[in-house]
């Protein structure tokens, strides 16, 4: 049985008929064609599939697409601004926060969710608030530096404005 799904994906309205058992990550990748969101585990362990739902980080691999009716979903594809990297993307680029890059979409979205709620987290807060995301390459230090870079950049942008 299909249900009607009406939601915003990266700011654009969409209307689809989806099966009740369709996972949000499969909806994003297979139906919408946004393959930036990755799957890394069999459920809830790794954080690779992290997207923002109504501004909050959530695992798209544990969320049924149909339960997002009326909501706003943001994926890694939403971040670039007219071809320019967002503050967090630039942080990962400048500070070498990505090695193999597989965890990166999830890391970036978790960091995005964190900075929207708390634009000036200290190192301890960055560590605890990104604990749902696992990286097998970097040892996390470069990822934390990437987020700190974004914090500084957003701060100086705000001061300039």
């Amino acid at each position: 049985m299909k249900s009607y799904l009406s939601l915003q994906v990266n700011g654009r309205q969409r209307d689809d008929a989806v099966s009740g058992n369709l996972l949000l990550v499969d909806y994003l990748r297979e139906v919408v064609g946004l393959t930036g969101t990755k799957i890394g585990c069999d459920g809830g362990e790794c954080g690779l599939c992290t997207v923002l739902i109504d501004g909050k980080a959530q695992h798209s691999c544990l969320t049924l697409a149909a339960t997002c009716n009326g909501k706003s979903v943001e994926t890694i594809e939403s971040l670039g601004d007219g071809g320019r990297l967002s503050a967090i993307q630039r942080g990962f680029h400048e500070k070498l926060g990505a090695q193999c890059g597989f965890c990166t979409p999830g890391m970036v979205m978790a960091a995005e969710g964190l900075l929207r709620e708390n634009p000036e987290p200290d190192e301890e807060t960055i560590r605890t608030e990104m604990a749902s995301n696992i990286c097998r390459c970097t040892g996390y230090v470069k990822i934390i530096e990437a987020v700190q870079f974004a914090v500084e950049e957003l701060k100086s942008k705000k001061e300039a404005a």
Partner: protein, 325 residues
């Protein structure tokens, strides 16, 4: 695409309707945040034909003042529970326990109702389909033998939710709604000592809210857990303590445990320490009654003897810390 079993998804907007839908199909399951349920579906542990999503039920998403206490809706997210001003100020163990569940992303949509109704856990059960299949499954699901205690016909999978013991030390009750109406029971009565069937919920009932009485005057509380990864993990053993003390003597002591039995449990015999000096001997005795009542089995990669030792040590440490403030 993930190989998800087919099911019909319902999104009722009242608890009564949810209970009615549940009653209509024996295989049906409730879905809240899904941080445990969808994992189990993806692993082939759960294959309901009807899934009843509870996230559209507005009436269960509030924390409200209720007489002298609080009423917490089952749909309240753990992230909201652990920063709620009254919870943090008056029921610190509950805030600490909620903050220690999984990681921040899980807490942003995982609910307190799902945390209390969490399935029991075991090394041989929380695994992928092929892992379990290559081990001939186990008694809890599809198999004939319990790999933890092969001689018996019982399942010892451990209840591993963090928040239940912290609610229990405050004497929490839970409101359940079924097609026949509502009933309220003490939280410990929601559970039984059976890893295969640990909830006393009728098959068509759902948990709608938790009632917290006013905290005892002058009480202090805390929750702590032992886990493999400090940043994100289920408890190997968890302990909540509530006490009031007066000039070196306890006037109330409540201790509750999780992850060391198929059900979250109140520790019995804590009244014996009330009105007596809290010296080293008493602290050791508290540690020892906790160790005796905890019955961890080989359901984690960490050995039971360690979990039994650590749960006693946690209780002793928390009592000492709270009594000396």
């Amino acid at each position: 695409m993930e190989n998800m079993p087919e099911f019909t998804l319902h999104r009722p907007d009242t608890a009564e309707e949810a209970a009615k839908l549940k009653a209509s199909d024996d295989s049906s399951r409730y879905l809240a945040g899904g941080t445990d349920m969808i994992v189990n579906v993806r692993r082939g542990i759960e294959a309901p034909e009807t899934m009843i999503d509870l996230t559209a039920i507005g009436e269960i998403t509030q924390i409200a003042v209720d007489g002298d206490g609080l009423r917490i809706g089952a749909g309240v997210k753990l992230a909201d529970l652990c920063v709620h001003a009254d919870i943090v100020a008056k029921y610190p163990a509950i805030a600490q326990a909620a903050a220690s569940v999984a990681g921040p992303t899980h807490r942003s949509y995982g609910t307190i109702g799902g945390n209390l109704c969490l399935d029991t856990r075991c090394l041989f059960y929380n695994q992928s389909q092929w892992w379990r299949e290559s081990n001939n499954f186990c008694l809890k699901h599809k198999g004939e033998v319990c790999h933890v205690a092969p001689g018996g016909k019982r399942c010892f999978a451990a209840f591993s939710g963090d928040v239940a013991p912290a609610l229990m030390v405050y004497g929490a009750e839970v409101d359940l709604v079924g097609p026949g109406g509502e009933r309220t029971i003490p939280l410990p009565d929601l559970y039984r000592n059976d890893g295969m069937d640990h909830l006393t919920l009728e098959k068509d009932e759902l948990l709608v809210s938790i009632r917290l009485p006013a905290p005892p005057a002058g009480s202090l509380s805390a929750y702590e857990k032992s886990r493999i990864r400090g940043s994100i993990d289920f408890p190997l053993a968890g302990c909540a303590v509530l006490l009031t003390s007066d000039g070196g003597q306890l006037s109330e002591l409540q201790i509750a445990l999780t992850a060391v039995n198929p059900f979250p449990q109140m520790v019995k015999g804590t009244d014996d320490f009330v009105g007596k000096p809290l010296d080293d001997e008493a602290l050791d005795a508290i540690r020892d009654i906790v160790r005796t009542q905890a019955k961890p089995m080989r359901t984690t990669t960490v050995r039971p003897w360690y979990r039994r030792r650590v749960v006693g040590a946690l209780a002793r440490k928390l009592v000492m810390r709270l009594a000396s403030v």
